[in-house]
């Protein structure tokens, strides 16, 4: 690798610090920004530079945003006067160990188009505020990437966390590699490698990550295109099983081909989910429900109502009950996925503990309709049984007893249609579909939005009840807006508000607003 020139600096000569290279490192506490800083200092000092680093640690080390700052200049035999902190518009290289930290650096003015090489890892470490939203609270990554690209003189941006993990190392190594590959510092690649070797800990893994990231940066940060074999997608493949069932599946699946083309993809997925949940007959029910919607839909509306119906009818049919959880947790595929995700080899011994806390409500739902309803309507019986059943249970699904218990529950599946929960769910689904279809002729878009409100219902026990109550409150708002031309827009707003916070404060506010319309 040849020595690279620094990014263009102001050349009119009045700024005396043009011979000083200024590097700021922004990280999330715990990402190893200190290690990277020490490496940069070591690199500079061994290359005949005078260098200075500073940091602001404090409480920032506990998962907050942290900042390190380095200055260096060729050794002139005297001590230069370096600055202890970065200044806006005066940073040559900015290393951000996470995408939003790159955004924060730009906001603070540390990235400017005239000079700053921005080296940013594209991965996300989600902030708590993004994770606690009941819906999807994640920040807009593409928008941030676009904005930081516009602010930087040069941008080297790829998933450096992944590069590090793949090499069995940590992100400081791949950031150092990206720094080398960016050519923003006037040092040879070998000098960087020597620095890593001198650090003496986890050298081989660090070098692997360093080299991978350096190569990627040299290639412009683009992952080399790997030829993906034209494999048949999982959802398009036939299931395995007894010949009779498989051929019956094929017959059922072929019916999807008769549906309007735009609906087919979602309907195929929905059908698969529903059959996987219960049985082929349930799949036929699904298609019947869907066809009712298709019958009143048309190509002029791009079949939007039917597509949403294909999605949400499947989700409504596949309600979360104890049987489903027991079934999912006792599948062979589940164990395979668990081992893959946890990095546990097929032969290794793993003990797996499940955390269950079924309440009496869930138990009742798993009883035959009349028995379940009788218990629900007898507070004394319900209370007494609740005392027995309502407690946390730790179940070892790698053990014979624990697995056997869940396996036993899963065998209730054929009886599901006769259980109380099924009746409740089907009644609810019918009402929901009815509501949507009833507004179809008045306001097509509103019908689509009604279907989408199904999204609010999710989870188990308390979570499920909370979702259901939000759904009801949103639906209660429907009569107030259904006559309006922009009703669909309002319903969407209500739904989005319901997904903003747990208690439904935003939803309360939105409902108040529509009352005043």
């Amino acid at each position: 690798m040849t020595i690279h020139r620094l990014p263009d600096l102001p050349t009119d000569g009045v700024d005396a610090t043009t011979s000083i290279i200024k590097i700021a490192i922004l990280a999330v506490g715990g990402q190893g920004g200190g290690v990277l800083t020490d490496w940069v200092i070591d690199l500079a000092e061994h290359a005949g530079y005078r260098a200075q680093s500073t940091s602001v640690a404090g409480v920032a080390q506990r998962t907050g945003a942290t900042i390190y700052y380095v200055e260096m200049t060729p050794d002139g035999g005297r001590d230069p006067v370096f600055s202890l902190s970065p200044a806006p518009g005066d940073v040559d290289i900015l290393i951000a160990a996470e995408l939003m930290e790159a955004g924060r650096a730009v906001m603070r003015g540390f990235v400017t188009p005239d000079r700053t090489t921005l080296i940013a890892s594209a991965h996300r470490v989600l902030a708590v505020s993004e994770k606690i939203v009941p819906g999807d609270g994640r920040a807009d990554s593409p928008g941030v990437t676009e904005a930081v690209a516009a602010a930087a003189h040069r941008l080297v941006c790829f998933d450096m966390e992944q590069v590090a993990v793949d090499a069995g190392s940590v992100i400081s190594s791949s950031l150092f590699g990206a720094l080398a590959g960016s050519g923003a510092l006037p040092f040879e690649r070998e000098a960087y490698e020597a620095t890593i070797r001198r650090s003496g800990r986890g050298v081989e893994a660090s070098l692997r990550a360093f080299n991978a990231a350096c190569d990627l940066a040299l290639a412009g940060g683009k992952t080399p295109a790997v030829a993906v074999p034209e494999a048949v997608k999982a959802e398009a493949r036939d299931p395995e099983g007894p010949e009779a069932l498989v051929s019956e599946w094929r017959a059922l699946r072929s019916m999807v081909g008769d549906l309007p083309a735009p609906v087919q993809d979602m309907a195929g997925r929905g059908l698969r989910k529903v059959v996987d949940y219960q049985d082929l007959a349930y799949g036929r029910d699904y298609l019947d429900h869907l066809k009712r919607v298709i019958a009143i839909d048309d190509a002029a509306h791009e079949w939007r109502l039917s597509i949403e119906a294909a999605k949400y009818i499947a989700n409504a049919l596949v309600y979360d009950d104890i049987i489903r959880v027991a079934d999912l947790k006792t599948r062979a595929s589940r164990e395979a996925r668990l081992r893959r995700e946890q990095g546990i080899g097929g032969d290794a011994i793993a003990h797996v503990t499940e955390y269950f806390h079924p309440r009496m409500q869930e138990i009742c739902g798993t009883l035959p309709v009349r028995l379940g309803r009788w218990i629900e309507n007898s507070p004394k019986v319900f209370g007494a049984l609740d005392k027995v059943f309502n407690r946390g249970r730790r179940i070892r699904t790698d053990g014979i007893v624990g697995f056997g218990m869940l396996y036993g529950i899963a065998t209730l599946k054929p009886a599901r249609r006769r259980l109380l929960r099924h009746e409740v769910e089907m009644k609810h689904m019918a009402q929901w579909l009815e509501t949507a279809l009833s507004v179809r002729d008045i306001n097509y878009d509103l019908a689509v939005e009604v279907l989408k409100c199904r999204r609010l219902i999710k989870g188990y026990s308390d979570t499920h009840e909370r979702g259901l109550s939000k759904y009801r409150r949103v639906m209660d708002g429907l009569p107030m807006i259904r006559h309006r031309e922009d009703a669909a827009d309002w319903l969407r707003r209500l739904r989005e508000a319901a997904l903003l916070d747990e208690e439904g404060k935003a939803l309360d506010g939105a409902l108040k607003t529509i009352e005043t319309l």
Binding site: V128, A332, T353
Partner: protein, 717 residues
Amino acid sequence: MAERSFAKEVQKLRMGAGETFHGEGILAITKALLENGVGYVGGYQGAPISHLMDVLADAQDILGELGVHFEASASEATAAAMLAASVHYPIRGAVTFKSTVGTNVASDALANLASGGVTGGALVIVGEDYGEGSSIMQERSHAFAMKSQIWLLDPRPNLPSIVETVRHGFELSEASNTPVMMQVRIRGCHVHGRFTASDNKRPGMSVRDALENPRRDTNRIVLPPASFLHEQEKINKRLPQAMDYIRKNNVNEFFGPDEAKVGIVLQGGMYNAVLRALQRIGLADIYGETKVPLYVLNCVYPLLTDEFLDFCAGKDAVLVVEEGQPDYIEQAFGSMLYKAGGTTKLIGKGPFPMAGEYTGQVMLDGIRTFLDEHGGGILPSKGRAPNTPLPTDSIQQLQTKVPMRPPGFCTGCPERPIFAATKLVEQELGKHHIASDIGCHLFSINAPFELGATTMGYGLGPASASAFNDKNAERRSISFVGDGGFWHNGLTSSVGNAVFNRNDGVIVIVDNYYSAATGGQDVLSSRADNRSKSTKHPIAKAVKGMGVEWVRQIDRTYDVGKLKATLKEALTTEESGPKVIIASSECMLNRQRREKPLKQAALKAGERVVRPRFGVDEDVCTGDHACMRLSGCPSLSVKQLDDPLRDDPVASIDQSCVGCGNCGEVADAAVLCPSFYRADLIQNPTSVDRFADRLRRKVIGWLKNRRERSRLVFAEN
């Protein structure tokens, strides 16, 4: 065991004359203490000088060799009181703590020390926790120096200057019989640089010598009539002595040309920032050769009238660079100029903001404004031009998108389940008044817990709830205090006070075995073996000794159910008097640091090792994120599934999970969803493990096969 080990670096403390020392500011300070024959050192940890305490703790062997006594003090007050050893004996002593909170705590001892005065040099090294990254209220230490007549040094933030200032500190202290404070800012503490070392010096008199040959002088004790004498002595004798030393030894420095129309007076700590602004404008080179005269105050209190007036002579205007408020230095200079009938214009706050840190931009703007208005053409043409505008549109675009990232609990933190339990109890019993304290547990005030209304000072959590003591109220207050704060002064100020005043409130003592927020130093109740300290003193015993009747010790904070039940009992019991819950589990950062090497060794030795980790079944998780609202763990995040049937991202646990158990416990206690599982990987299994595994696989495998033979099995996505 401290978070960061300096065991390797402290070897540099043995360097002799002429060797070049490379390292951090705090390490340089330690070396300077030894070079100046310090006899004893003490202090209390806290950013930014936590690491200074860690360096000293790790350097105990070297200190011992030189006959230097080191103590990790119980509080800043203890540390300051320790300097009493320099009152009657010619022993140099140094203590360190963070400022201004530490100085607040120490102020009683500092004021007494300053009144009586010292014989041996007494140096107080304060870590000025001001500006970016600071964790405390924004105040200056300057006021303390002025009110007690303690001289305040503020060295230029480079290693040679800091080291030189330590020497001045001791000599100035001895020349004027007055304790001296040296303030170092956050970045100055952590700046990496170099200086030329000198030989270490044994103290002329050791604490042992003093102990064996006691002395006393009633005139040095703060009690009338001596205290009236002290006040006169401070002003009439010690102050002139100090000024004399500062002048004769050139403690303050001058840079730049002798003749100029303008000049800048600055605190030593501001030197690099001022220089950077001048460099960028083109009025100084990178080695500090400046065209604008600089008067650098390495001693910011007392100020020398003659030195200042001399600097002003022949200048039209002088700029005072003084960070923070009030502007004590500018006021003092203003008074000097006025009294001397000076005509030089004094500029300070104006181009500079009265409040807030002098960041690079503030400095550049302030100095440029001053030179533009008063520089008489000294400002080069580029320096007069406005800034190149930053890309404001993309910044505005980002402001709505980039989320805030306040600090929070670490992965596996044992304090997380305490606040999860508190949140659950509040969901059941309603909101309560919650008083917080200083320490990691203060992160409870942020999302996702959002618990806690005030923080009044270290160890003062329960004390700050003491007004809420009404026997007829239907709710009780809850207050938190950490083990660090408890031993710092919580035992008396908070617990003792609650017992004495019959407070019915609930006090939760968060015990994580260390002073964790400051970097994991040991405290009295730490359970580690400490070579030089006495540990393993249970908090429960101290609390009972204080007279608390209702005490519950919980030894595994991850048991959310138990914590919730205990809190509920404390809030509802008929018993009167304070209800104290001690929630103990080891700080996970320290635990990992302790256990990881042990586990690796055990793995290598072929011993059975269990690696616990949590996971989420993505097909069971429905994406409501209720679990995150009771966690905030960095390892628990969300991911989007490649499935158009699913709207919301599902929970996902990454490889950094340490298997603390909070996820499972919370899912159970809060009745969430059954998607969490714990997978224990058994490494180096025993023959019993293998036998049981074979048997289980056989039976379970048979069951799975049996079912999958009779149903459709779809491939995973």
